[in-house]
Amino acid sequence: MSDQVILRVAVKIIVPMILLYALYVQFHGDFGPGGGFQAGVIFAAGIILYGLVFGLRRAQKVFPTWVARLMAASGVLLYAGVGIASLLLGGRYLDYSVLAHDPHHGQHYGILLVELGVMITVCGVMITIFYFFAARGRETL
């Protein structure tokens, strides 16, 4: 590990940029290309890069397995929850117009929440899958 200085320093600089970029893609997705799917994948790619260079154990310290699993489940829950909320507020399932005082704002909130749910799920799923593949077979070698 001691001779991997270049990789480690480079990754230390790159990973925060990747994570920040993922958030940019997520919240700029209404105005330009981007959205939950892309943002989730990019965020996961940042964590995976960290794991590749610093080892799985340290990656799991930064981003524990249980967090990844929780994210994978809670994103879908958030998505479905927005639908339930619009039902409770008197609209149809996933009809965001009732979420706020006027339909435009409602649609904005709905899309924001739904995309957030997509991002959380995709990010959690990708990181979970990577952890499982990376950890497989190492415990007996």
């Binding site: 330009g32 290309p33 799917f37 995709v122």
Partner: protein
């Protein structure tokens, strides 16, 4: 002119058939998955090409201009989700390959079949 409008469909079909050929002719399971991915991507490209309008631009609305031609956003939406779903299902297939390797010691389809036929083991 007709050919200029159709040749890319033929290339998609060619790609699809290459993927299909890898899938049915290669015995190695990882190779089969790669073939399946090529097949899948060719379908994606086919869908996206259907949404293209000549002279169109990406379907992101430009403020204040009404003369802009936009390409069809619907195939984009369908394929956008399909790509992410595709990689997830590929991950499931790969984990199946890992388990097969652990159980049989090989990922060659022919050997797996032969081992199954040789049951019970000596």
């Amino acid at each position: 002119m007709r050919i200029l409008g159709l040749y890319n469909y033929w290339i998609f079909i060619f790609l699809m058939m290459v993927g299909f050929y890898i899938l049915i002719s290669r015995r190695n399971l990882v190779k089969k998955i790669l073939g399946l991915n090529i097949f899948q991507t060719s379908v994606f490209i086919f869908y996206i090409s259907l949404g293209k309008i000549t002279g169109g631009t990406a379907p992101i609305l430009v403020e204040g201009e009404s003369e802009v031609v936009y390409s069809n956003p619907l195939p984009h939406v369908l394929i956008l989700t399909a790509i992410v779903v595709g990689v997830s299902t590929t991950a499931v297939a790969l984990s199946l390959v890992v388990r097969i390797k652990e159980a049989y010691g090989t990922i060659e389809g022919a050997e797996i079949n032969a081992m199954d036929n040789r049951m019970p083991p000596p």
